[in-house]
Structure formats: structure tokens, C-alpha cells
Point group: C2
Chain length 337, copies 2
Amino acid sequence: MPQLRQDPATKEWVIIATERAKRPEDFQLPEDSEHPNAKKSCPFCPGNESLAPDELFAFRTYDSKPNTPGWWIRVIPNKYPALIPAGNIKRLLIEEQFRYMDGVGEHEVLVESPEHEKTIATMDQKQVEEIFTAYRERYLTLKKDPRFEMIIIFKNHGRGAGTSLLHPHSQIIATPVTPMHVRYRVEEAMRYFDDNGECVYCAVLNKELKVKERIILETDNFVAKAPFASRSPFETMVLPKKHSSSFGHISVVETKELSYVMKQTLSKLHKALNNPAFNYIIYSAPCHEEDLEYFHWHIQIVPRVASVAGFEMGSGIYINTVIPEEAARFLRETKVS
Amino acid sequence: MPQLRQDPATKEWVIIATERAKRPEDFQLPEDSEHPNAKKSCPFCPGNESLAPDELFAFRTYDSKPNTPGWWIRVIPNKYPALIPAGNIKRLLIEEQFRYMDGVGEHEVLVESPEHEKTIATMDQKQVEEIFTAYRERYLTLKKDPRFEMIIIFKNHGRGAGTSLLHPHSQIIATPVTPMHVRYRVEEAMRYFDDNGECVYCAVLNKELKVKERIILETDNFVAKAPFASRSPFETMVLPKKHSSSFGHISVVETKELSYVMKQTLSKLHKALNNPAFNYIIYSAPCHEEDLEYFHWHIQIVPRVASVAGFEMGSGIYINTVIPEEAARFLRETKVS
């Protein structure tokens, strides 16, 4: 059973992932890069379904059976889950200062395509729509479980972004705690709302749409922009124009438009930076407080072209060597089909 | 002039480092690894002093001149500084939401040895003492500048920890802002103090010294331990037993003892994990509030054996695959001379 432990000084939670535990000795070896025969044994490739746990959800042809080929999107439990859907959500104490709990949650893998070497930038628009539609489905399903406080949908692309399997996939983790990281963000946004009577993300977005210099792409309902204080080169934020605090509120039609903005933005990054490693994360308000007038859901895309070192770890201040307005202009002017 | 920008939603500061600015196009190229002739052109090697800015401080033989060989520790300004000691500390606004200020600060490099291939684990104890004595000197000097709010001393060892030059060196950055990252930590510690009337770090340390299972090393005045909620495998915290909120308060004698604990701990990591990349950071209270009864200065050592991916970025929750008690036992039992 994985365990969640809280740091007594910072109140931050950490997952001690015993299911994927390594012995201390295992860290002496360098990590393998993908074996040339990886495709044959890739648990996400069609025909290899038996190598992965049973599917939770799929978009597949009507005549195909679960856990066999015929799918184009497939959601399965992570084979080495950080959290598992069992155990008790009660917080416990070992000694007075050491708070912990069972690692209750959900850890899913969303296989984005049957093709081992595709990535969103090189997929059809239709396939990308299906990915985002599946995100929405899983979000709405997981949200029904009252034990979950946060649902985090994210993607790691490329070794530099922390992925170990190259077959295109995203991950979904539901946690039984609201981390401090999220609490602080929500709290700051609340303070702004109390002072100004409007959502800080809406206020900033309206300014950005006027000054335009950090806008990368705009559709009727979504915007991709470089944040004013981008923490890393080419960091991009995608968000809805209309106020909404949770990705769970998105409609099916909006999902298609969002997937267009994401495909365009990721294609620009792919072309401009030559297929960089990147992460993206969908930030929503905590599941049990989904109608906040002061928080605005958004997607953060972080190309991993700079490294995080001691200064960033110690101060939380990132050093960005590219001026956000220039990054935005460069991406805006990168033409993709 | 570098610029500090504040994220309007999260209130986090970012340094836009124009002095080390890259054009967007530069990110298309992969980073070079160290050239075999790097030693000849290494700006930190003796004889190459003219390749670096003039030294600010050095331990050197009495008959040697500044900026020539004869030193064994040398502090120089960073050639590509993130912050520079000029400009105005006034916060300014571009539009109502966009707060920024000049990138006022100090960014120094501490060259730890004349030898290009040494690392603390392989240096003499005497040399390590000199490194920590020099940290103290620079801390006390920089603290006199009233413009600086935080002084962060840190080390990046190995490419995986974000260093670009292999010659052993640490860095010191003084910032004109107290980052939210630090404010949150100090605030949590304050809350604990208000509830319990004692420093949370002291309280936890006393428990740890009783239960012993997470202790790696202990001397009269210092302890190296695995945190209860270690965020990554083999994360180690070194801290003084006696309450003190700032590294600036350490005595010369204590500095020697601290350097012994650091050399022992880093040697254990070096041996146990086969010279891993790592960062360490000295955390102190902000410079203008150095006598806090609720904050406790400490050093965090993070071997970079796990990668930070989308989930960690989005939730702030780290997934650690090694049980902290096992990591501590493994390091405790690793014998070094």
C-alpha cells in the first residue's frame, strides 16, 4: 500500500510509492534508454494489451472486444501506481509531528494513439479531439468518488520531461488530499477577488487581449499566451476566455475547440524548438469546490529546455533566459498547418 | 539589466535574465557536453583567472596577487549574472496587474578548489572547511547590503543537477525580494510555534533523535537525517541541534564541525550512489528577520536520481520510490573514511 506523508514543517504531502519501490542499491545503475525492440514489448501498442492491466475506458470499433486491438484511445490503470483505489482516507499520526495516511487514489494511463511514434503535433486533429474528450470523460467519472480532492491530468513528453515509455500517453492522478501548492494558488486568487471583485485570471487575460504582445493564439473561446512572469523559456498557458474554475465544466463542443488550440500550440513548439521534451498539466480547482468565482482552470505547457537547479529549488524563483514577449512573438509567427 | 517579474496570480517572482539571454532560435540546438579540452579553457582553473571577472574574495598564499594563481578558494562575480548589484529596488507596475522591478542583487561563484576534477567527497577535510568558512564570509558580507532580502547559497553538482561547468563550484545569490516559497515555509513554522510554543524543526529533531531510524549521522552540534516526508530518494537534511534561524549566526568553530558533517554525508552519497548528480541549498530566514524563534536554518541535499514530471509540477506532491527509513539506514551503514 502506498503511503502519503506530510512534512511537519512545510505541510507538503509526499507519496511514498511502495508499489514502485526500488531498493537503495538500484540507484547505482544509470537508467536504460529505450531498447530498439521496445515496440515489440510496448505495453501500449495494439496486440500487447495483455501486458497492461485491464482497460477502464476506450474509444474502439463497435465489433472489437475490451483488451484487444480495435481501439484508438485507451485508458488503463498504471501498472506501477503511485496511489491505489483502496485503503482509508483517515489521517493518522506516528508520534505527534508525523502525519500520514494510506495512499488512496487513482493513477491511470491514457494511451493517446495506437501508433508508437506519434505525438500530438503529428496526429490528426480528430485524434487530438478524442484525447481531450477522453480526459473529460475520466475527469467526470473520477469526480464522482467523494474520497478524491484533486484530479490532475498531465502529460510527460520525452525523456527530459520524465517519461519512461515513449508510446504517446497522458496520466491522470486523483489524490485524497489538496496539496499546499494548490491551496496557496487558490488562496492568492481569493485575496485578489476580495480586493477587486473579479477573478485575477480573467483580469489578466483581458489585459493580455488588449496589449496582445504575449498572445500566441486565440479562438472564440480559448487563448494560448506566454505568462507575463513565465518561469521558463516558451512556457505557455492555455485557458478559456469565459470564467470557469474547473476543467470538469467544459462542454463537449468546447473540448473540440480546446483540442484545436492545444494541437496548434504544441505543433508550434514542436516545429520551433525541434520536438522538445515538455510537460503539460491541467489545473482545476479542488473537486469539492468546483464553482469558485476566483479560480480559473488552465493548462500550463512547459517545454523542458532549461534545467531546475539549486537556486530554483531553494528560492522558488525561476531564472528565465528568454523574454516572454519574444517567446510569444516567435511562437505566434511559427506557421503550422 | 535583468528584470524581476511577479506572477499576478501566484505572486511568485521570476528573474528574466537578459544578461544571459538567448534568442528563441538558440533552443533548437542540444546542449553541448563538456569538450575534452575544457580544462585548458576552464575559467575556474588556476592560470585562467583572466577568463573570469575580478575576484571578490579569496583564500590564497600571502605572496600571491589577486587574480593570479596561489589561491585555494576563490569567489568571483558570475560572468552571466541572474541579478546585478545596480538598479532600483522600487516595485513598478506595467498595467495594473503586471508588477516588476530591476534585477538588483548579487550573483557570485565560489570556486571550491584549484583542481578541476575534485568534488567535496574526494577533497581533504581541510579544504571542505575552507569552503564553508568562505560561505560564512560571503554571507556576512552580503548581509550588510540593506537591499538584499534573501541570501541563497547552493551547489549544483553534475549535469543532471543543472551545472554547465564541471570545475567544482558553488553559487551565492542575493535577491531583493523574499519569494513566496520562503514566505510560506516561514509562515507554516510560525503557525506551529504559535500553537505549540516551540520551533517545529526543533520539535521534529528531538523526536528523530529519540526514534533514530531516520538519522544518518550525528555530531555534538549537527545532525544529518532523512526527512520523514522525503520528497526524493536519499534526500538529506543537515541542521544544527541548537535553535538558530540563520546560517549567518554560525561560529567559526561550528563551521568546521558542519563541514565535517557535510563531507561525511556527501561522501556517503558519492560512494553509495556512485557519484550522483546532486544539489544542496542552505536555507536561512530572510536577512532582515534573522532572529526568528520559529524558523531553523538547514541544508537540504537532493541527489538527482528521480525526475520531476508533470504530476510534481502540477500538484507539488513528489513521488518518492524509496522509503526514507531505508534510505537513512543505507547511508548510515555506508562506511567512508
